[in-house]
Amino acid sequence: MLQAYKLSIIYYLIFSLLLIVSAVMLFDNNIGFTIESIVSYYLGDEEKFIASKSMSGILKLILPHTFVFGLFAMVILHFLVFTKHRYKKSTLILIFLVFFTSFTEITSPFMIISGFEFFAYIKLLSFISFLTLSLYTIWLLFHSIVYD
């Protein structure tokens, strides 16, 4: 691969880190990292003056995120094809898990407002897993570009 393309990918990884930092800050500010705060964010809380979310409200929120999650995952994961990790089974598992966790992160709010409060755990777990797996992919790419 051309040196300039490697440079461009490294900068893309830095942008991805910034995106992850902003996502964590946004999640912390809007929803919160406890199960209680996730449940009250979606189901509402009179004491905290939080209105409950509706199906259409969640749909409006996830509409751009569905495309963005898919695009973001596709772009960082497709760079793995240019590395030595291309033919590893672990890479296939990683690709599956990134898409799977992003899917559950996006769809779990529907289950929460449908009465399945247990999905607040799924929401939190999938959000953290998606970001952790994205960070792991970023590290794999960075390591491959710098050392291979």
Binding site: L7, Y12, I14, F15, S16, L18, L19, S22, M25
Partner: protein, 157 residues
């Protein structure tokens, strides 16, 4: 990203046309970005400071934390996607200056994005850093668009 593998883009009329069309859209995006930023967030030290910190004399409230974080989050995503694709085309077209210009473009864009939360949470000094780096990467991106366009019309790349 197939265009990164095509040997002579000028002879591949379809790919050349696709890239030219895409460059026009990135140019429109950058112009629209400047216009929208100017009318909503501000593009001068005074207007950005008013947006971020409010202005008691004019009874303007500061932007709330949730709105600021949403704005920052979306800015990061759009800028990273625009610059990745534009830079990929530019690298394919330019021969000599591509590494230095890639460095300046990306560093100024990252500086611009990181100075936003620093201005919001730490000090108004970073508003100056934000404006300077914002215009540097915009000017450079416009240069890359015109250079790539010109190269796509050149006899051979």
């Amino acid at each position: 990203m197939k265009f990164t593998l095509v040997k002579n883009i000028q002879k591949d009329s379809a790919m050349s046309m696709v890239l030219k069309g895409f460059l026009v859209f990135i140019l429109f995006y950058l112009i629209a970005d400047i216009l929208v930023m100017n009318s909503s967030f501000g593009l001068s030290v005074n207007s950005i400071s008013t947006t971020l910190y409010g202005n008691e004399d004019e009874y303007i409230d500061a932007i709330n934390k949730a709105s600021f974080l949403e704005f920052w989050h979306t800015q990061i995503f759009f800028i990273m996607m625009v610059l990745l694709t534009l830079n990929a085309i530019f690298i394919r077209m330019a021969k000599r200056s591509r590494v230095i210009l890639t460095n300046i473009l990306m560093i100024s864009a990252i500086t611009s994005l990181t100075s936003l939360p620093l201005a919001y949470y730490l000090s108004d000094f970073f508003v100056n850093v934000y404006i300077t780096s914002y215009f540097i990467w915009h000017i450079l991106a416009v240069y890359m668009i015109f250079y790539s366009f010109w190269k796509l019309n050149a006899p051979s790349v």
